[in-house]
Symmetry: C2
Subunit: 109 residues, 2 copies
DNA sequence: GGGCTAATACGACGATTATCGAACAATATG
DNA sequence: CATATTGTTCGATAATCGTCGTATTAGCCC
């Protein structure tokens, strides 16, 4: 069981931008950014079905935004901050710092 | 005949990211970034049908990335650099500075 | 083995999207 | 007016997309 993570030098800008353009996925990235360590997928309060969450995590992983490592029955997930910064310097930070309507509606970000 | 341009404080990050995530639209933005002044839509060497171009320009305009002003039979188009930088500081610059596969395939960018 | 939990695969659905060519609209010129 | 140019609208198409529930898989523990 190996999860595919694209190598840093193969990260495509359009894939990254597309992954970040969905409100749910942007929210996932935002929540992950608040964590100090890798966290299980299911621990994030997304409010969507598990299968939809799986779909979104997959898009994020294949675009190179997250790294998932199987740990027991769960998947510890974390942002590939260093890789993203190496490939697209500053992009993630700017996205995370940008005004987000959903953050406000999600309350207490 | 009035074209709708969203006000700066209503620009949505997901709309901007989505607009930039399409290879053609990213190319349009890149080409526009190289111009010193507003240029007619048709002057950009896109290699797609005019109706498809119209569609893309519309997406970019509605997301707030470009401004179009009717001039005679043409539409002078320019990037809303200042507005984008005011709303999402640094985002456009980073996107323009990022490695683009299409730029290489388009040759001589 | 059984039981439990976390996550995925699968099929389905409605909506959206990028693309095109043909017809059309808007503008300018003689 | 007719003609030319630029850009848009329209209808169509195939593909993609986000979402869901159900069945299944993977891993762990007793």
């Amino acid at each position: 069981m190996s999860l595919h993570h694209p190598p840093t030098d193969e990260l495509e800008l359009t894939a990254v931008l597309h992954a970040l353009s969905d409100p749910q996925r942007l929210r996932i990235v935002q929540l992950l950014a608040e964590q100090d360590t890798a966290v299980p997928c299911g621990s994030l309060p997304l409010g969507i079905s598990k299968s939809t969450a799986t779909h979104h995590f997959r898009v994020l992983r294949e675009a190179g935004l997250i790294e998932q490592s199987p740990t027991g029955t769960t998947k510890l997930t974390t942002l590939r901050r260093a890789d993203l910064d190496a490939r697209f310097p500053g992009l993630l930070e700017i996205v995370l710092a940008s005004p987000l309507l959903l953050a406000a509606s999600a309350s207490g970000s």
